[in-house]
C-alpha cells in the first residue's frame, strides 16, 4: 500500500508540472502581457520598459521556472488589472467554488445512486425506463440552457429563488442542481451497470443462500461492490464540477474562482488565469489520486497489484 501510494503521488506531481507548464507557455503565446499592463495608450517605449521590468524579455522556460518557484511558495504575483495580490483574490472566492462543487457532486450522488440501484433491481421495468429517461435528459440538455430555464421558471416566473449572488444558501440551490444534474447520468449509468453485474454474481447468491435480509443483500453485499467504480468516477466528476463552475458561476453571477477565471480571461489577466488553472489542475489531480486510494481502501484486491 505505501509503495502504491508513493507511485500514484509521483505520477500526480508530474501531471501538475506538465499542465502548469503548458498553460504558462500557451497563455504567453496567445496574449502579450506587456500590452495588457500598458493599456491602450502605451507607446512602444513604454511596452519595452514594461517587458524589461516584468522580465517578459527572458526565455519562456526561465519565466516559467521563476513563476513556478514563487507559486510553490504561495506567491502567485499580482493581477495586472486589479493590481491586487492574486493569492488574496483567489482565497477570498475559492470557498464559494468548493462549496458549489461539493453540493453539486453530492446532489448528483444522492440522485444517481438510488436511481441507479432502483433501475438495476428491475432492469427494463417502468422504474428503469424512467431512470434512463432522466439520465438521457441530463446528457442531452446543455448545462447553460438548463440553468437559464431554471432561472426563468423558479427565479422569474415563480420567484422562489434568487437568480444571482452568493450571500445566502438560496443562492446555491439552482447552481447546485444545474451543475450536479450534469454529472448525474454518468454516475447513474455506472451504478446501474455495476449493480446489475453484482446482483448476478455468485457471492450475491451466497448471501441469499445465507438467508440474509434483502436489505443486507442489497446494501451490504451488492452496493458496496457496485459503488467502488462510482466513487472513483464521482471524484473525477468533482473535478469537472469545479471546471464547470466557470459557466455556472458566470450565469448565476456567483463570484467564485470560476467566475474570476472567466473575468480574468476576458481581460487577459494572466497571473490570475495561471493561478486558477494551476488550482483547478491540482484539484483534479489530487481528486483522481484520492479516488484511487479510496478505491484501494474499499476494494482490498487493488493494492495488491
Amino acid at each position: 500500500m505505501p509503495a502504491y501510494t508513493l507511485k500514484r503521488t509521483f505520477v500526480a506531481f508530474l501531471i501538475l508540472i506538465v499542465v502548469s507548464g503548458l498553460t504558462f507557455s500557451l497563455s504567453h503565446l496567445s496574449a502579450d502581457p506587456a500590452l495588457t499592463i500598458g493599456g491602450e495608450q502605451a507607446s512602444e517605449e513604454d511596452i519595452q520598459a514594461i517587458r524589461k521590468l516584468y522580465g517578459f524579455d527572458r526565455p519562456i522556460h526561465v519565466q516559467y521556472l521563476d513563476w513556478l518557484g514563487r507559486a510553490l511558495s504561495g506567491d502567485f504575483g499580482e493581477s495586472y488589472h486589479y493590481k491586487q495580490r492574486v493569492f488574496d483574490m483567489v482565497s477570498e472566492r475559492i470557498g464559494r467554488t468548493m462549496l458549489l462543487g461539493t453540493l453539486a457532486i453530492l446532489f448528483a450522488l444522492v440522485v444517481s445512486i438510488p436511481l441507479g440501484t432502483l433501475a438495476a433491481m428491475r432492469p427494463n421495468s417502468i422504474t428503469d425506463r424512467i431512470a434512463l429517461f432522466i439520465a438521457v435528459l441530463g446528457q442531452a440538455l446543455p448545462t447553460f440552457w438548463f440553468a437559464l430555464m431554471m432561472i426563468i421558471v423558479f427565479g422569474v416566473w415563480w420567484r422562489w429563488l434568487p437568480i444571482s449572488g452568493h450571500t445566502q444558501w438560496a443562492n446555491y440551490v439552482m447552481p447546485t442542481i444545474a451543475l450536479g444534474y450534469y454529472a448525474t447520468p454518468a454516475l447513474m449509468r455506472l451504478t446501474r451497470a455495476g449493480m446489475i453485474e453484482v446482483l448476478a454474481s455468485d457471492y450475491i447468491r451466497t448471501a441469499r443462500a445465507k438467508g440474509l435480509s434483502p436489505a443486507s443483500v442489497l446494501f451490504k453485499h451488492a452496493l458496496r461492490n457496485a459503488i467502488i467504480p462510482v466513487v472513483a468516477l464521482a471524484a473525477v466528476w468533482f473535478g469537472f464540477m469545479l471546471g464547470g463552475s466557470i459557466v455556472i458561476e458566470t450565469i448565476f453571477n456567483l463570484k467564485g474562482i470560476g467566475w474570476l477565471s472567466y473575468d480574468a480571461l476576458l481581460r487577459s489577466d494572466l497571473p490570475v488565469v495561471q493561478a486558477i488553472v494551476l488550482i483547478f489542475a491540482s484539484f483534479y489531480v489530487v481528486l483522481t489520486l484520492l479516488a484511487d486510494l479510496l478505491n484501494a481502501y474499499l476494494d482490498p484486491r487493488i493494492s495488491v497489484r
Binding site: 454474481s201 455468485d202 457471492y203 447468491r205 451466497t206 448471501a207 441469499r208 443462500a209 445465507k210 438467508g211 440474509l212 435480509s213 434483502p214 443486507s216 451490504k220 453485499h221 458496496r224 461492490n225 474499499l298 476494494d299 482490498p300 484486491r301 495488491v304
Partner: protein, 337 residues
C-alpha cells in the same frame, strides 16, 4: 416422520426461454434422512443445480417451480413467503456451491462473512459468532484459524475458500446441507480432501446431505442413496450398493462403465460420459428421452410412460421399459468370461 429431514415429490422447474418453455427438471422426487447422504449424479445440464436451487428457494426470477410436496422438517415449504424461506436458508438448510473462487464477497473479511450468518440466525453475540467461526475453521482444516478471520477471500487459495464456504454452511448447525459439485473447480489432489472432509463432517454432525457430483468414484465411497438424473428426470434410484452392483438403466450402466478401472481404462479416455447428446428440453416431451443414445432402444421406447418406474424392492427403481429379467440376464452374461 422418524428421521426424515427432506421429502420432495414430483418437483419440476420450468423456465420460459425465447424458443418456448424449457423443462430442465421434470418431476423428480427423493427424501433425505438425518445422517444420510444422497448423491445426485448425471451429466452436465441434466438439472442438478436447478433441483438444489429449487429446494433452497433460490431459483432465477424467471423460473417456475411446481411440486406435489416439498417437506422440510415436517413442514410444507412450497408456499412459504420469501421472509420465512430466508429464515430457513443458512440456518437449518445450507448450501455449498460449485464456484469457490467467486462465491465469497471480495469486499469483506472471512470473519465478517462467517459471523454474519450466525448473527442472523442464532444470536446477536459477536464473541459467540467469532468463537464458532474459529471452531469451524479449525474443523475444516484451516491452519491458524483465529488469524484468518481478518483475511480477505483473495488471500486464500481455491481449496481454502471452499473450506471457508463449508465452515460458513455449518455456522448455524444445519439439519440439511446441499453441496452442489463442491470440488469441480478445484485441483484433483484437493478434490478428494474436500470430499472426505464433507463426508466426515456430515457424519460428525449427523446432518442430512445432498451431494451433487458426476464423480462416481466419490459416490461409491460416501453415498447412502443414489439418484441418477437424465434430462431433468430420475432414471434410476436406490441404495448405493444396490445401484452399483446391479445398475438397471442403460444410462446408469453407461456411467458405471466410464469409471476408470486400473489396467483397463485407456489414458486420455474421457470419463463420466456416455456417447451422444441430451435432447432439447424445450416444449412438450414424451417417451424415454434416452432413446437416441440407448443401445437397447426399440419402437415402444417412444411411447414409454416415464412416470411409472419399475420397482425392485428396498427402494431400488428405474425408468426403462425393459424387464428386470432381461437386464439381469445380460449383466450375468457380461460378467461370465
Amino acid at each position: 416422520m422418524s428421521g426424515t429431514i427432506l421429502e420432495v415429490e414430483n418437483l419440476s422447474v420450468d423456465i420460459p426461454v425465447a424458443a418456448g418453455m424449457l423443462h430442465p427438471v421434470r418431476g423428480i422426487g427423493f427424501s433425505v434422512s438425518r445422517g444420510e447422504t444422497l448423491c445426485i449424479v448425471g451429466e452436465s445440464g441434466c438439472g442438478k443445480s436447478l433441483t438444489s436451487l429449487a429446494i433452497m428457494g433460490l431459483l432465477p426470477k424467471t423460473a417456475r417451480r411446481n411440486a406435489d410436496r416439498i417437506e422440510f422438517l415436517g413442514r410444507d415449504i412450497r408456499n412459504l413467503r420469501e421472509r420465512e424461506m430466508a429464515r430457513l436458508r443458512g440456518g437449518s438448510m445450507s448450501m455449498i456451491f460449485q464456484e469457490p473462487m467467486t462465491s465469497l464477497n471480495p469486499s469483506y473479511t472471512i470473519g465478517n462473512q462467517l459471523a454474519e450468518v450466525y448473527l442472523r440466525h442464532v444470536e446477536q453475540s459477536r464473541a459467540a459468532a467469532r468463537d464458532r467461526a474459529v471452531f469451524l475453521l479449525e474443523k475444516v482444516g484451516i491452519s491458524s484459524a483465529a488469524s484468518r478471520l481478518g483475511q480477505y477471500p483473495h488471500q486464500l487459495s481455491g481449496g481454502q475458500r471452499q473450506r471457508v464456504m463449508i465452515a460458513m454452511a455449518l455456522m448455524c448447525g444445519p439439519e440439511l446441507i446441499i453441496a452442489d459439485e463442491p470440488t469441480t473447480a478445484l485441483d484433483v489432489t484437493i478434490q478428494a480432501q474436500i470430499l472426505h472432509l464433507l463426508a466426515e463432517l456430515q457424519r460428525e454432525f449427523r446432518m442430512g446431505m445432498i451431494l451433487i457430483t458426476h464423480d462416481l468414484g466419490i459416490v461409491a465411497r460416501v453415498a447412502d442413496k443414489v439418484q441418477v438424473m437424465y434430462a431433468g428426470k430420475t432414471v434410476e434410484e436406490g441404495p448405493c450398493e444396490t445401484v452399483f452392483d446391479a445398475p438397471m438403466h442403460p444410462y446408469t450402466q453407461g456411467l458405471l462403465r466410464c469409471i476408470p478401472i486400473p489396467g483397463r481404462t485407456r489414458r486420455g479416455e474421457r470419463l463420466g460420459s456416455v456417447p451422444g447428446i441430451v435432447p432439447n428440453l424445450v416444449g412438450e416431451l414424451s417417451g424415454c428421452l434416452f432413446r437416441n443414445r440407448c443401445d437397447h432402444a426399440r419402437d415402444a421406447c417412444a411411447g414409454m410412460r416415464d412416470d411409472e418406474p419399475t420397482r425392485m424392492g428396498d427402494g431400488h427403481a428405474y425408468t426403462c421399459l425393459r424387464a428386470p429379467g432381461e437386464i439381469s440376464g445380460e449383466l450375468q452374461a457380461a460378467e461370465a468370461p
